[in-house]
């Protein structure tokens, strides 16, 4: 029997901008727990995988404490993501988390979440994928998820993890958006390290999800029409069906585009820019941003002027923002924690004169990215530029 949630409902802008906060020295996984504690969710469904497991253990604690009314462990990630889909279709606010091989195991479900307009929030504690087996940090799974239709937020710090996870529920549920939000955090690097995070201390939580305002009918036999399949087939071999399917896909992409204004309202600009006048600019997301900050400090000691663009939102991709911010850059350095270099490809695809891009350093398989190697790449880029 579930306990009564002891918190009082407040809108997200109150939670993010007005509620009293206090610094706590916590891990990224604990930051997820603290966000979910105040998210007023209806159900969380879990499945173990390193380095995610700890997060869903902590959400299990919230269930035991009465902050989450329903919680259970499913049988594998494909099943869990399907259970999550059923829960969302039936009108619940739902949370789950996975990573790496679990993401791949569940993969068929993610575009279904988007196509079915389900406002699921899923955290991904990014990890490398087999073979060979690894449990170490690597952001390769994000490359695969780019075209699933979901909104993708990439956290640099535990503070980001806290704010992004909390805001994700409301952004996902906006009536004109209503698609899943993936909140990505680099496994171990931020999930298992501690930092000071401003945590809300008031007894407040988000308002309940209202399924009646959804852009698609809830499956509960309380929402018209009674004659309803979620979601109907438009798969006959004729033009009428092709156009319906194409138009449906476009609407999912349109929903992601509409999320921009909500993301801006709650989380600020989609990218954060520091020192935009510098001739050399690093573009990064996730913990690569932190490494870039360290490298920029080292560069400054050697009188090399380097700017920084932190990409917080990977989908919808902040194309116009990035193009504008890089309009004067001579060299653009894109460090990444994966072999594919998906961020470099994304930037290259939208940038005029993309020969300015230096898509290094790139590390993977769990390797760290020492600021010194980033500094070397900065120096080399600057040398080429001045030659």
């Amino acid at each position: 029997m579930s306990k009564k949630n002891p918190l009082t409902e407040k809108p997200l802008d109150y939670m993010l901008f007005k509620a009293k906060r206090e610094k706590q020295f916590i891990t990224g996984s604990e930051a997820v727990r603290e966000a979910v504690r105040r998210a007023n969710i209806d159900i969380a469904i879990s499945y173990p995988i390193t380095p995610q497991s700890e997060t869903m253990h902590l959400v299990g604690d919230l269930f035991a404490e009465g902050y989450v009314p329903e919680y259970f462990r499913g049988e594998n990630e494909f099943a869990v993501m399907s259970q999550v889909a059923g829960a969302a279709m039936a009108g619940a606010r739902v949370f789950t988390a996975t990573c790496g091989p679990g993401t791949m195991r569940a993969f068929e479900v993610f575009p279904m979440w988007s196509g079915s307009r389900l406002p699921v929030v899923c955290s991904f504690m990014t990890r490398g994928i087999n073979a060979p087996l690894t449990i170490q940090p690597d952001t390769i799974e994000m490359a695969f998820l780019l075209e699933t239709g979901m909104i993708m937020l990439h956290c640099e710090t535990a503070r980001d993890i806290y704010d992004f996870n909390l805001a994700a529920f409301i952004i996902a549920e906006e009536k004109d958006v209503h698609i899943p939000v993936g909140v990505f955090m680099d496994g171990f690097f931020v999930t298992h390290t501690r930092e000071l995070v401003d945590i809300i201390t008031e007894d407040v939580c988000l308002p309940k999800y209202n399924p009646q305002a959804a852009p698609v009918p809830t499956i509960d036999m309380e929402t018209p029409p009674a004659r309803l399949m979620r979601d109907p087939f438009v798969m006959k071999s004729n033009f009428v069906s092709y156009v319906a399917h194409a138009s449906w896909q476009q609407e999912v992409r349109a929903a992601a585009a509409r999320s921009k204004k909500h993301i801006k309202k709650y989380l600020g600009e989609l990218i954060e820019i520091e020192n935009p006048a510098a001739p050399t600019i690093i573009v990064a997301s996730g913990t690569a941003v932190s490494q870039a900050r360290e490298a920029i400090k080292l560069a400054k000691e050697e009188n090399i002027d380097v700017g920084l663009i932190k990409v917080k939102v990977v989908r919808p991709f902040p194309k116009d923002e990035i193009v504008a911010a890089l309009s004067k850059a001579k060299k653009i350095i894109i460090p990444e924690f994966n072999i594919a270099g998906w961020l470099a490809k994304e930037v290259a695809a939208v940038l005029p004169d993309n020969g300015r891009i230096v898509a290094t350093p790139r590390v993977y398989g769990g390797m760290t990215m020492p600021p010194e190697i980033l500094l070397e790449d900065i120096k080399q880029a600057v040398r080429k530029q001045t030659q």
Binding site: R117, K175, D176, H178, A213, A214, P215, V216, P217, E222, T223, P224, P225, A226, R227, L228, M229, P232, F233, V234, K236, N238, V240, S241, V243, A244, A246, S247, W248, Q250, E251, R253, A254, A255, A257, R258, K261
Partner: protein
Amino acid sequence: MPQYKVLPGPEGYLPPPAALMGVELPEEGKALVEGETVSESDAVQKIARKILAAKNPTIFPGPLVLWAWSETACKKAQLVRELAAEAGMKIIPMPDYRPKYPMINPAVEINPNHPNLTIWHNKIDVCVFIGVHCHYANVALKIIRGGTDCYTIALCGEYGHEDAMITLRDVTVAKLEALLAVVRETKRKL
């Protein structure tokens, strides 16, 4: 980037969704006319003129106003009926969202997955959507813009629709009554 205009089609083989062309949904109290933000009263005036000037205006009530799931739904249904009578609009319902091609009878119903069939069959030049869940309304509005020359108006209970030529948002019973009054007034002046 020049402002993308949301105009009657046929726009082409597969036109883009207006949201991806930079058209943003109206803020509270505002409306969209052909992709531009205008005041709600301007949009209401324009709707009245459009439907009264049309040769064959038609209103498409959707499941949210056809089925008696709430008192508000029934009140809105009543106003749809009155609006149709006042403006000389035909009523063609969208009772649910299941694709019915090729079984659909376009003379008596419309379906969001192939709304163009009903528009072509009935030679509808101006149509009004109301009570359709936003996802299905958007799918339908885009198909209509792609394949027909119909002028689309969406009376939305939530945030509105970029893919309609005119859209109102947060359409309550009171707003429908106000629209009905403006239609009456406009008709009187004609």
